[in-house]
């Protein structure tokens, strides 16, 4: 870790109670969810991390509680440094404050996390599903969501497959 990153890490540990994880030279700060907006604002305005490159989530079910981590990847165009913020979220009605006011491009990324993991973003301007159809049930990237498949239809089994379909015409 270079000196400039060290300054940011120390400040975040003091101000937001962040926990440092360093792995393969990448700096990750684990924050409580209620601090994420203040931390993102500080990162953008005080430390020059002016771009949000990526936002995603990880599901640790069933091994860990809290179940979800939301992961933000920040990048400073001026100083060319990366910083990762992680926010642990409880699996029971997961909610995180939105960072759309800080980084406008978080809009779609947070919609994707809502769609895939069912994590709500409080104060998001337009929290709808983005990749799945709007009437979809469940959140596919959760670990307790089964990976479904469709059996290939051949001439010897097509009748059997059609009989199990709800809408055979499809």
């Amino acid at each position: 870790m270079d000196d400039e990153t060290r300054v940011v890490v120390n400040a975040f540990q003091e101000r937001f109670g962040a926990e440092l994880v360093e792995f393969r030279g990448e700096v990750t700060l684990v924050l409580p969810p209620q601090q994420i907006v203040a931390a993102a604002l500080a990162a953008r305005d005080e430390y020059g991390y002016n771009m949000l490159m990526d936002a995603t989530a990880v599901d640790y079910w069933p091994a860990q509680a809290p179940r979800f981590h939301v992961v933000y990847q920040l990048y400073g165009l001026g100083h060319n440094r990366l910083l990762r913020l992680r926010v642990p979220v409880d699996g029971n009605a997961p909610v995180v404050p939105t960072i759309v006011p800080v980084y406008p491009n978080a809009n779609w990324k947070e919609r994707e996390i809502w769609d895939m993991f069912g994590i709500r973003f409080e104060g998001h301007p337009d929290l709808r599903r983005i990749l799945m159809p709007e009437d979809w049930q469940g959140h596919p990237l959760r670990k307790d969501y089964p990976l479904g498949y469709e059996e290939p239809q051949f001439s010897f089994n097509h009748e059997q497959i059609l009989s199990t379909k709800l809408h055979p015409k499809e």
Partner: protein
């Protein structure tokens, strides 16, 4: 009407904030563009709010090409999951393979031999040229320039033939593997690339001759689809769109990977912020890529193309007949796969469209616990409302072309 029953009820109230007040009063028109429309470069649906011919808002609706790539990859071992990456951005399979492999190599601290590094650079730059050629052809076609499309496809074919020569597949290559390459390139490879390098600069001049000073093309592109540098940063736009707005940001320069720091090349930038600038940046990038390929070909070292670390890389075929050790490694790798240490990494490369990132998290098992591909098309498409506001419907087509989206990349 029983057959056409609605399968679900959409709450219309929660969609109303997407359009302006005037649309609710019926003063402006809502027009659907897509999902099946050739100029949307895939299956993209745009909901346009129009005041006459002028776009008031544009609401992109994506997800028609969602294939659950990330979920599928989580269910496969690391080697098997790699084939899924080809199918993300199908115009940049080499780049997707590389991003995924770089993430694995970073987690495993796996070494890559020098020859493999140089070959990776050559293939990536060929891929960049082929992607830009397809972009050039299709987006010029959208602006009614037919011949560039045919010429662009002609040269792209040469590159696809080279890919077929090295990997056996024209598009879904899976040639770049963790720890190096699948196998060494065949002997014909060098001549094929040299032939391509010999003809290509003239061909680029040809394309430029057809478009750069073409009055019809200029009228459709200059001053249209503007996005300033500040908005690029705020909306996370990367790649040629960002460089056409005056920011010289290229991951090959700022965070070099695969030995890009050894090559001498420029980052083309423009300050016009419009479609024409993006066109000029991409054409210049083709020339810079040719420069990189030429340097790489001149310094192509001999040696192995795969790491010797048998825990991650299968042994060569020739060893299987003589070494019990090799048989065991081979068997282990193809049955249970390799495991990676616990941890998470984020790796990004410069795809032809912008920053392509891979967030890979391992739980110590043989399958990725979480893999997220941060794709440039997704990031760039988000700025569509910003880019199209106040332009004619006809220009929307040009603007979609200019941000160079691939819907497979966007929807994953």
């Amino acid at each position: 009407m029983g057959e056409f029953e609605a399968v679900h009820d959409v709450n219309i109230e929660e969609l109303k904030h997407l359009v302006s007040e005037r649309a609710l009063r019926g003063e402006t028109m809502l027009l659907n563009m897509g999902p099946q429309h050739p100029s949307t470069h895939g299956v993209l649906r745009l909901l346009l709010e129009l005041d006459g011919e002028i776009v008031v808002t544009c609401i992109p609706d994506i997800g028609f090409l969602h294939t659950g790539v990330e979920k599928n990859m989580e269910a496969k071992t690391y080697q098997k999951a790699e084939v899924m990456t080809d199918r993300l951005d199908y115009l940049n399979p080499m780049g997707n393979n590389l991003t995924y492999c770089l993430a694995i190599e970073k987690l495993a601290e796996l070494d890559v031999p020098e020859r493999a590094q140089v070959l990776r650079v050559i293939l990536l730059e060929l891929q960049r040229i082929s992607s830009h050629l397809l972009w050039l052809g299709t987006s010029a076609l959208d602006l009614a320039a037919m011949s560039v499309f045919l010429y662009g496809m002609r040269e792209r074919e040469i590159i696809l033939d080279i890919f077929e020569m090295v990997s056996g597949a024209r598009m879904m290559t899976t040639y770049i593997r963790p720890g190096g390459l699948w196998r060494d390139v065949p002997v014909e490879f060098e001549d094929a690339v040299r032939d391509f390098l010999a003809i290509m600069p003239k061909r680029v001049d040809e394309y430029e001759g057809m478009l750069t000073t073409n009055k019809l093309f200029l009228e459709r592109t200059v001053g249209i689809g503007k996005v300033c540098a500040e908005d690029c940063i705020r909306y996370g736009l990367t790649g040629p769109v960002m460089r056409a707005s005056g920011i010289a940001h290229d991951l090959r320069k700022v965070r070099p990977y695969s030995g890009y720091e050894q090559y001498d090349f420029n980052i083309p930038t423009r300050t016009g912020c419009d479609i024409n600038s993006r066109y000029l940046v991409r054409v210049q990038e083709i020339r810079e890529s040719l420069k990189i390929i030429e340097q790489a070909m001149n310094h192509l070292p001999y040696g192995p193309v795969r790491s010797n670390n048998r825990k991650y890389v299968p042994p060569p075929r020739s060893e299987l007949g003589t070494s019990m050790e090799a048989v065991i490694h081979h068997f282990k790798l193809w049955t249970e796969g390799f495991t990676l240490p616990r941890g998470a990494v984020y790796v990004a490369t410069e795809s032809p469209r912008g920053e392509l990132g891979a967030y890979l998290e391992s739980d110590g098992g043989p399958k990725p616990w979480r893999i997220h591909m941060n794709t440039p098309s997704f990031a760039n498409l988000q700025a569509m409302p910003l880019l199209t506001k106040g332009h004619f419907v006809a220009d929307v087509v040009g603007i979609i072309g200019s941000i160079d989206i691939v819907l497979g990349d966007c929807d994953r």
